[in-house]
């Protein structure tokens, strides 16, 4: 098997590959700017656009180009500083590097406006910085200092800011942020705010049950929600090919009936442009959008993990495609960056981080007596819960809010479905073939499983003896396709 940057070389062809072939065959998806090539894609299989096409259409301002550069460099320098702190034993817990993934965090978060909401995952330090979190917060969090946003009660990127920056804290269980950020988007719409919510998830986290529940709820609610599916090829030690039998995780969007993109996550401009387009579309009411960013985790799961399971050639391949190096080449070619301005950026970051690191190092640990504080919100003096209404509240109160409580289901009863048009419809409908068979048999409708159960007293229902005597056995096909309402 030929080497592919998206496959780990040491792994034999996966047995489900045959299955995948049936779904995707033929054309490939190229990212000429960075040389990423994705094989085995059917054009139009999902509404996917190579982000470079979008990027070509979108012209960024000089400031925007330089912002992206600054934040990517800041992202990396913050993490380099923390690596040093880790080696000095000053980081209390684990340290999870996003080396090589800075383009994803920075490019996507840069597409959000101040009013928008986001929830970062562990490797999205760059997104925190873009949204306005000062590096000292990240340092103090990792060092468990009393000055940290959580006052030492949690570490890493596990903190948020409901009031100003609109950041929801992650938890370590993957996928949970998807329904939470869906709820944020739903509430935003309810309050009349024109906000978009965004969160990230890895290829690993995309296999959780709550990923599905959340995406489906977001889709069914048409929530203004953007999910960045950061496919860094490895879930701890398990390659993506051993987790899922599909090549492109973005294809899952099709199952939710939502739009998706695949983008080269190591191309920060492409990442930004794609995210911007998705954010704009979500804000315009198109519903949730999934962006799969192809990238690579160049360090182990955390500092303790040397990641010896990653094939050397795969790592080398992606090291050559470092998002910052690629972007520097681009900026230099476009005459947006020269040696002098590069040095200026580096000095600016060094000065800032020196100050921030010192602040963190000189901060105290939380006093032991704070341990039992804050389990409960004690009331208005602790938190005043006050939604920010941007629409007339009386729309949500009777009589204006009152409706006729009936479902209107478009196309119901026409036999059309999202798949082919022959899928059975709920509540005892049958497939056309079975319906024809049934008609031919001219038998009364077969019983649902519930109806055919004997009543508790063991006697048949009063009216059933005559019917069952006269009735031919229902055709097997009709029986098999009957659908009762599946409910627990």
């Amino acid at each position: 098997m030929a080497f592919s940057p998206l496959r780990s070389g040491g792994i034999a062809p996966y047995s489900l590959r045959v299955c995948r072939r049936e779904i995707h065959s033929g054309a490939s998806l190229d990212f000429p700017r960075t040389g990423l090539k994705i094989e085995d894609r059917t054009p139009g299989d999902t509404p996917t656009m190579p982000a470079t096409e979008t990027a070509a259409k979108r012209k960024l301002s000089r400031q925007q180009y330089l912002d992206l550069y600054y934040y990517m460099r800041l992202n990396r320098e913050v993490e380099d500083t923390m690596t040093k702190l880790f080696r000095q034993n000053k980081i209390v817990g684990g340290l999870y590097a996003s080396l090589g993934q800075e383009g994803v965090s920075v490019g996507s978060a840069y597409a959000l406006e101040k009013r928008d909401w986001m929830a970062p995952m562990i490797r999205n330090i760059g997104a925190l910085l873009v949204k306005g979190v000062p590096p000292r917060d990240i340092f103090t969090q990792h060092m468990a200092k009393f000055t940290s946003p959580t006052k030492g009660k949690d570490g890493t990127s596990h903190f948020g800011d409901l009031e100003n920056l609109h950041i929801v804290s992650p938890i370590s269980m993957l996928g949970d942020l998807i329904p939470v950020m869906t709820g944020v988007a739903m509430a935003g719409r309810y309050l009349g705010q024109k906000i978009v919510s965004m969160t990230w998830i890895g290829d690993g986290g995309s296999s959780t049950g709550v990923f599905h529940e959340g995406m489906n709820l977001a889709a069914s609610q048409k929530a203004a929600f953007v999910l960045i599916l950061e496919n860094n090829q490895w879930a701890y030690s398990t390659p993506v090919r051993r987790q899922v039998p599909i090549e492109n995780l973005a294809d899952r969007a099709k199952a939710y009936g939502i739009a998706s993109y695949i983008v080269d996550g190591n191309d920060v401009v492409a990442m930004y442009c794609t995210a911007k387009e998705a954010v704009d579309r979500a804000r315009a009411g198109e519903g949730p959008i999934l962006i799969e960013a192809k990238t690579f985790r160049r360090r182990g799961h955390a500092q303790h993990d040397p990641a010896e399971y990653v094939p050397k050639e795969q790592l080398e391949h992606w090291e050559k495609r470092d998002p910052i190096a690629l972007y520097e080449t681009f900026l230099t070619k476009e005459k947006l960056l020269d040696a002098k301005s590069k040095k200026e950026t580096e000095d600016r970051i060094a000065t800032l981080l020196e100050k921030e690191r010192e602040f963190a190092e000189n901060s105290p640990m939380p006093p032991a007596e704070t341990v039992a504080t804050g389990v409960y919100c004690t009331g208005d003096e602790c938190h005043k819960i006050a939604p920010k209404w941007e629409r007339p509240v009386n729309e949500l109160l009777p009589p204006k809010s009152s409706v006729k409580p009936v479902w209107t289901v478009e196309g119901f009863g026409t036999g059309r479905s999202s798949a082919r048009g022959d899928a059975p419809i709920h509540f005892g409908d049958v497939t056309p073939a079975a319906a024809a068979e049934k008609q031919a048999a001219a038998a009364p409708p077969a019983k649902t499983p519930a109806e055919s159960l004997a009543p508790p007293n063991g006697k048949p229902p009063a009216n059933s003896s005559a019917t069952s005597a006269a009735k031919k056995p229902a055709p097997a096909a009709a029986k098999a396709t009957l659908r009762g309402k599946a409910r627990r």
């Binding site: 329904p179 309050l191 709550v210 529940e213 409960y376």
Partner: protein, 325 residues
């Protein structure tokens, strides 16, 4: 004052809170057009519309997740579990996300998770759960389990107005079986306060939800047949527990019987026993006695369920023995 069922009391609380505060929304399975599996939200969609009464897919984790996200935006969502048994499906979302948020990152989640719980209606092993102890061990929740229509309404209103996540369990055996005169207008019952339902001096019976009525029945029989005066306390809130009321009563009666429908091992009676051992050791003139369900799943057959559940006879026997200890 009008006579209302437990079910009607819940409905009134939801209706009044939604009418008074547009930040209150209801989210759950079949809560809208259908009005809820037990019709607790009947008529709410008609009044408050699609944006405030949200029918969801069968996704308990997504329901709790979305409610949590909404609460971060300043709303006060009420999330319904169609049967409280399904709360197990969103255990992670509740215990790791919702409950820990305020302690960890200063994020209050003013949501109410409510649903029909408890047995005695032949619901079988997956529609009869008493889930309180799964959550009592998680700091950050408040857990409310009322036994009367008056309390159901007042406590649900208080729960919706509380800034913390409240798990509000509605014993479905009581839904239509009890009626009470309750004020038509606004009132609340404070969370965290137990109430003495019957005064007595020979022993204290602590209970809540449907078993509170069983305990009262047994207490009446004890008084009639044995001259034993039991003091019956309705805990109403399980977290935070009203230790003061419990200790006060035990100080007076010197004996304590705990009756709960939850299974025995790890049930709240054990926690109460520990509290009494720590704080009322010298007041006790007898062992703490537990009358609870058996340590099995809730069985389906009426004969088995009857054997599984506590009843007035079992409470009577245990209380008599304790009083005579």
């Amino acid at each position: 004052m009008p006579l209302v069922t437990f079910l009607e009391a819940i409905k009134q609380a939801l209706f009044e809170e939604m009418a008074a505060d547009p930040s209150v929304v209801l989210i759950g399975e079949d809560v809208g057009v259908y009005g809820g599996a037990f019709k607790t939200s009947e008529g709410l969609l008609e009044k408050f519309g699609w944006e405030r009464v949200i029918d969801t897919p069968i996704s308990e984790s997504a329901i709790i997740g979305a409610a949590c996200g909404m609460s971060y935006m300043g709303l006060r969502p009420v999330a319904e579990m169609q049967f409280i048994d399904f709360i197990a499906c969103c255990f992670n979302q509740l215990t790791n996300f919702v409950a820990k948020g305020h302690y960890l990152w200063n994020a209050p989640a003013p949501i109410v998770v409510r649903g029909p719980s408890g047995g005695g209606v032949h619901g079988g092993p997956f529609h009869s759960l008493n889930p309180e102890m799964y959550f009592l061990h998680t700091p950050g929740f408040k857990i409310v389990y009322p036994s009367t229509p008056y309390d159901a309404k007042g406590l649900l209103k208080a729960s919706i107005r509380d800034n913390n996540p409240v798990l509000f369990f509605e014993h479905k055996f009581l839904y239509r079986r009890i009626k009470e005169e309750i004020p038509a207008g606004d009132y609340t019952v404070p969370i965290g306060k137990a109430v003495v339902r019957r005064e007595g001096k020979h022993l204290t019976i602590l209970s809540y939800a449907a078993m509170m009525h069983t305990s009262l029945e047994a207490a009446d029989a004890l008084a009639r047949q044995e001259g034993i005066e039991a003091e019956v306390i309705d805990l109403r809130t399980l977290l935070p527990l009203d230790e003061e009321t419990i200790l006060q009563s035990v100080k007076k009666t010197n004996k304590c019987l705990v009756v709960h429908e939850d299974t025995k091992t790890g049930g709240i009676a054990g926690e109460i026993a520990a509290i009494l051992a720590e704080k009322a050791f010298h007041d006790l003139d007898g062992p703490l006695v537990r009358v609870t369900s058996l340590d099995t799943p809730v069985p389906y057959a009426p004969t088995l369920e009857e054997a599984f559940l506590p009843n007035a006879q079992k409470v009577f026997t245990a209380a008599k023995e304790l009083a005579n200890f």
